[in-house]
Amino acid sequence: MNESLTAVRPEVVDFVAAVRARLADLSEDEREELVGGLDADLTELVDDRGVDALGDPAAYAEELRAAAGLSPGVARLRAPIGARVTGWIDTVGERWHRLVSRDGVRPVWEFLVTLRPVWWVIRAWIVVEAIDVWWGGAPFTIVPSITDGIALGVPVLLAAVVASVLLGRRRFERTWLRLLVLTGNVGAVLVFPHVADHLEWRNQTDTGPAYSKGWNHGYNQASSDFQAETLVVAGASDGLAFNGQPVINVFPYDANGKPLTGVQLFNENGDPLVLNKNMATEERKSITYPWLRSGAGVWNVFPMPVGPWLDDPNKGFRDDIAWFSPTPPTLPVSPVAEVRPVSLPKGPR
């Protein structure tokens, strides 16, 4: 009796275990069908030709699989990443189409499909607007500016719309193109809230006649700065506001339309009307300083002087020492030199 046949050789046990591991993706039954009895066969093989005849368990498992006709399983596992991604997209697409072809959903979906060109235009706008926001070309307007004027914004937007529509009208077969279009669409949807948040909607509505266009622009720019500032300044929402926007400064005029200085404002309860103390003016280079009473700041006196912006997180944004610097705070120039006189029916007072 051949002594080595009394048990399975340890090398064979290891080898079969390794082969079994390579077949882990198969079902229990399939795997057992493949490796069942293998230890007996391999033990005899080793007896005949030595341990070296076992070879590489991975290659062995591959050969076993292929010969057993389980190669489709291997092919699926080993498919190029591109084919797999295409498969995923197709699967999701099919499920989606099955979902929307249900009786209740179908009319809604068909209606939405007719709106696809609208989306093509919107996504182009979102992308250009996102570039605008990213480049930081404030103010952010409905028509993207890219640079300071809208000179570059309009052609870029038109080009983006044309490209987007051309893209929308085509059907792509190549995996990376499909993935690119898919990513682009999802990205546009995700970026939209961010873009909408940055938009300066006021620019479209606020065309107050008393303000010059330049002032309006400056105001918007300042409020854009403020929006950035609100992220770091606690209590930034305190203080006087107009149309939901914090007021930076107040310019009183008398009934004859002449600018006034040192006007103290109170509300109906006698409480001082104060601005947001952390409100910066344009580009955060300057900030309002309070009038003084016995050396202490009084915050409801207008117009407020404008002095240097100190970007010191420990001291705050302004320092009284600024009054004694070479460039002390000064009263700002009124937005308009004079406004038209006003009166009550019986004449002023």
Binding site: L5, E33, G37, A40, D41, L45, E63, L64, A66, A67
Partner: protein
């Protein structure tokens, strides 16, 4: 010429023929194939083929317990397997005759 590609096409036929001659376990079938001249056949290919033919119903399988060593898994041919063997044998005869004829035509 790399005969492994040719072998893939006729391995089913060869395995069926060997098992038809006499029931056998994996290594036994392999040994008989090699003895018959298919020296390049890989053992995993033979085992895999046996499993596949068993799955498709061409072969039947039974385990022979062994006191001295691991149990052996024997394969025998079924009626389906015999029909398949007959069909494939005819296909092979036809195919090889055709190719032989072609080669002789080229040679002359």
């Amino acid at each position: 010429m790399d005969t492994t590609q040719l072998l893939k096409g006729v391995l089913d036929l060869a395995v069926l023929a060997v098992v038809d001659a006499e029931d056998g376990y994996g290594y036994d079938v392999l040994r008989r194939l090699r003895a018959g001249g298919l020296t390049e056949v890989g053992d995993a290919s033979v085992y895999g083929t046996l499993r596949r033919l068993y799955s498709s119903g061409a072969l039947t399988s039974y385990v022979v317990p062994s006191d001295e060593g691991p149990h052996r898994k024997y394969y025998g041919i079924t009626t389906t397997g015999r029909a398949q063997l007959k069909q494939q044998r005819e296909d092979w005869d036809h195919f090889s005759a055709t190719v032989t004829g072609l080669l002789q035509g080229v040679a002359s």
